[in-house]
């Protein structure tokens, strides 16, 4: 069961402030979703099942070359000396 405490933890690690309304509504909705995906538990937890991930060969990887990406730069929130202004750390 998803409690309000669990929800607060999830919201904290996801960095999302929840509204009063969401704090009331979400536990039930998330709980239903989790109940729904809980059927996965019936599946075997056999480690030998290959996860069948996509593969790429080493020699197909990119060469170590420099390419200037002019015009792909950020422009929002820059200070005069080029730093990006972020919220304070302490």
């Amino acid at each position: 069961m998803i409690s309000k405490v669990d929800l607060a933890h999830l919201a904290q690690i996801s960095k999302i402030d929840l509204s009063e309304e969401e704090i009331e509504k979400f536990p039930m909705q998330l709980e239903r979703t989790i109940e729904y995906i809980d059927v996965l538990e019936e599946l075997s937890s056999d480690d030998s099942i290959d996860l069948d991930l996509q593969e790429i060969k080493f020699d197909q990887l990119r060469d170590d070359l420099i390419k200037n990406a002019d015009g792909e730069r950020i422009s929002k929130n820059l200070t005069e000396d080029g730093y990006l202004k972020g919220p304070k750390m302490k």
């Binding site: 998803i2 929800l7 999830l10 919201a11 690690i13 996801s14 960095k15 999302i16 402030d17 929840l18 509204s19 969401e22 979400f26 909705q29 998330l30 239903r32 979703t33 989790i34 729904y36 995906i37 809980d38 059927v39 996965l40 538990e41 019936e42 599946l43 075997s44 937890s45 056999d46 099942i49 290959d50 996860l51 069948d52 996509q54 790429i56 990887l61 990119r62 015009g71 792909e72 730069r73 950020i74 929002k76 929130n77 990006l84 202004k85 972020g86 919220p87 304070k88 750390m89 302490k90």
Partner: protein, 481 residues
């Protein structure tokens, strides 16, 4: 007598090249159409009519000067607003990107432009592609052109509505769990989700990277082929792309072995079931056999899909902290953690739910219970399907288990909403290609047939779709006056 805006992509290209009309005349006809119907449909988030007209003029001038224009000469494309377009706002229908103007073109957009296509604007979607109705768009829903009280499907709802109603020649959507095929079905147009890796995702704003592909939504199978041959191929900017051969329109169809997926047809609405069965009979007319088969791992497909998609989404959407792009919220006086949390409450509710679920299934202690099992199911399902593909060329069934529904019907119940994706997520989980083809109507609402093929067997989907399209011949215009 049809209007210029009604023409198919192939007809537009031929018409312009033969001098029947100029690119500008065609573009103006489409702009006029948008002016007439857009207030009813709300397909677009941003429109660039001026840009489209000047691109058209440029193409006309080049044609007069006998310069070569690519195979998409003069066609008008609408781009789902989660695909990056240089200098055109790309919002993902989210507050988080309301002012974001990408400094680069997605690979598919670059290919479209280089081959003569004209960008008309950006099309509506559920926020970040999460939804099946466009009701989760921050800019309000798109309406179904066949009945304005009904949803157009989603998440590429703007793509489906715009193409069906003649607001653009073709559109590019993205499909993570059915987001191309669902609106194609609900709006009675053709939509293809390619094999994973066939089309570059560079520039597609990620929802669930391992599941999604960009693909075309068009008014004909021939148009789908034209677009696919331009957008597919290996891209050095996307390590997950794989080189593949081009596809063609063959007059003749080889005999295909077709299987109806029992689970999918059994669980759908009566009217949908009836149409799908009568379509299955048409396969005999085009010389194909069909039988009914059952798939073992299907029960777990949707739970597995929502686990994986939410997990990836929770991570993909972390970058929206409003520092480099976003909306106006001064940073002053916030401590960074506070600022991030304050900013991020501006995601829509559905997005927030999926981020929270994603964080949940990945958090320590739950990873092997959910994520790993979902991943294994994905692998088992793919294996089962690949084995069956040795025997069958195509799996068919209804794209959507139900007819288009009214606004608000499912919006308050996430699970009800998720369940409409049950038929489409299979192809994303198995990384195989799938198409939705319009095959009929019930009470004036469209029904789509879904066909799936083995990896990189898009040609089989096209062969069958083209043959059926000619046999069924339901091309109708929605009445929007």
């Amino acid at each position: 007598m049809s209007n210029l805006y009604d023409l198919l992509a192939s007809e537009v290209v031929d018409g312009i090249k033969e001098g029947l009309f100029t690119t500008e005349e065609y573009v103006c006809s489409v702009i006029k159409r948008i002016e007439d119907v857009e207030s009813k449909l709300h397909s677009f988030i941003s429109l660039d009519s001026e840009g489209a007209v000047s691109s058209a003029k440029l193409i006309d001038r080049k044609l007069r000067e006998k310069e070569k224009i690519g195979p998409l000469c003069g066609i008008i494309v609408g781009i789902k607003d989660n695909i990056s377009t240089k200098n055109i706002k790309t919002t993902c229908a989210s507050k988080m990107l309301e002012d974001y103007i990408p400094p680069y073109d997605a690979t598919v957009v670059r290919h479209m432009k280089e081959n003569g296509a004209i960008i008309m604007g950006k099309l509506n979607l559920d926020e970040f592609g999460m939804g099946s109705t466009t009701e989760y768009s921050r800019y309000g829903p798109t309406h179904n052109p066949w009945n304005l009280d009904y949803v157009p499907g989603g998440s590429s709802g703007g793509c489906g509505a715009a193409v069906a109603s003649g607001e653009c020649t073709v559109s590019l959507g993205s499909d993570t769990g059915g987001s191309i095929r669902c609106p194609a079905s609900f709006c009675s147009v053709v939509g293809l989700k390619p094999t994973y890796g066939k089309v570059s995702r560079y520039g597609l704003i990620s929802y669930a990277n391992s599941l999604e592909q960009i693909g075309p939504i068009c008014r004909s199978v021939k148009d789908i082929v034209m677009i696919m041959n331009v957008i597919s191929g290996k891209d050095m900017n996307d390590n997950t792309t794989i080189p593949s051969s081009s596809i063609t329109i063959n007059g003749k169809t080889k005999k295909l072995n077709v299987a109806i997926l029992k689970e999918l047809i059994d669980s759908c609405d009566g009217s949908v079931k009836k149409t799908i069965y009568s379509t299955a009979e048409k396969f005999k007319e085009i010389g194909c056999e069909y039988s009914e088969i059952s798939i073992k791992n299907l029960n777990y497909a949707l739970p597995s899909y929502y686990t994986l998609a939410s997990a990836e989404a929770s991570s993909n959407l972390s970058r929206y902290d409003n520092i480099r792009y976003g909306f106006d919220l001064p940073i002053d006086d916030y401590k960074w953690e506070q600022y991030f949390s304050t900013v991020r409450k501006n995601f829509g509710e559905e997005v927030k739910r999926r981020i929270l679920i994603g964080s949940y299934v990945l958090s320590s202690g739950y990873y092997s219970k959910y994520y790993l099992k979902a991943r294994r199911l994905r692998s088992l399902l793919r294996l089962e399907l690949l084995t069956l593909f040795k025997q069958y060329d195509l799996f068919i069934g209804p794209t959507m288990p139900i007819l288009p529904f009214k606004f608000g019907e499912k919006i308050d119940d996430p699970i009800k909403m998720y369940l409409v994706d049950i038929n489409t997520v299979i192809a994303n989980l198995a990384s195989i290609p799938a198409v939705s083809l319009p095959v009929g109507f019930s009470n004036g609402l469209p029904i789509g047939l879904q066909m799936m093929a083995a990896p990189f067997e898009e040609q089989k989907l096209i062969d069958a779709s083209y043959a059926l399209e000619n046999t069924i011949n339901i091309r109708r215009r929605p009445n929007l006056t």
